[in-house]
Symmetry: C2
């Protein structure tokens, strides 16, 4: 059992490292389950067990990058970190999350695949959990907080992944990100009435 777990952990580390190499060497579009299995020298079965689908590879890569971000949310300075009012934290979280998604856009887009579905249950992603907790602290009750957190997470995460500014220049990217951040602030302020 322990050996199996150690093997699984070693495989996971090796696969993530190989995927990162491939990102630099061959580009994101060439990273497939088959190509990853071949380059890593591990069996296809191992890759499938580890990631499930192609998007699972990128969810794992995104998760690695998310650790730093999570650290800042959980113990960094306010208003993103603890110590500010929940509404201010929710607004700051939206802005920081949009920044994070923009910085990791190619990976985040590849992680986002309609064919992979997530069983609905208690919030599984950091964003859903954090949004839910802040809504709860803001005293938004009565409704279905799990669903509200899920809907707000979609409202926050999906636009920067699905839409691009008309011209892909850096200035337009920044202007679009700013509009999304102001839109998020507007949305959550309206929510609390």
């Amino acid at each position: 059992m322990n050996t199996e777990r150690a093997d699984a952990a070693r495989n996971r580390i090796a696969l993530i490292a190989t995927a990162r190499e491939m990102l630099t060497d061959v580009g994101i579009d060439k990273i497939t389950m088959d190509a990853l299995a071949e380059r890593s020298g591990l069996g296809k079965g191992t890759v499938f067990r580890r990631f499930g689908t192609r998007s699972g590879i990128f969810m794992a890569l995104l998760g690695e990058g998310e650790r730093d971000f999570q650290e800042r949310v959980q113990s960094g300075p306010p208003p993103l970190g603890p110590g500010a009012e929940p509404l201010d934290r929710l607004i700051a979280f939206g802005r920081a999350r949009l920044r994070f998604l923009q910085e990791n856009r190619d990976i985040a887009r590849a992680a986002f695949d309609g064919r992979a579905t997530v069983p609905f249950g208690p919030p599984t992603t950091m964003t859903q959990r954090h949004v839910r907790m802040l809504l709860h602290h803001m005293g938004i009750g009565g409704g279905d907080l799990d669903i509200l957190a899920m809907q707000l997470t979609a409202a926050l995460d999906v636009p920067p992944l699905l839409y691009t500014p008309p011209d892909d220049g850096a200035r337009n990217e920044q202007a679009f990100e700013d509009r999304l951040a102001r839109g998020w602030e507007d949305l959550v302020r309206r929510l609390i009435g």
Copy 2:
């Protein structure tokens, strides 16, 4: 020019018909750009020009199904159709949209692909346009209505595509859809304060 347009329209109709046949005969996972080109007897170039990406095939299929739905929204009985208060129409729209996505779930999921991005501009989908119009009629102004409509469209469309109830049974599907519909109602009621 006219001949070119007529050719394009004929190709489009042929490709959609072939994709529908393939849905029944071989199943959704086997529908790829290559397989569609082969089965339709049209060149790969034609398929790529028409749909852009694999998800484009399913966006086209979903669009066909959306016509009926759009008809009900634009000229059916209230509160989905015209004649009810904008808030009631927005709530009814959410419930009907969730039903539509549930009924077309496999196609809608396949249409939803992080690799395809949409240039951001004036609302392009029927959902965004309709939500934006109702928000405007509800007197929600001051903020950025294009962005708010985009965020609310994500909040409405994405959860039923990305999440599945823990057990895939029909009763759980219905219960999940109902929770999403109540969540949508709760969200828009909070928005108008």
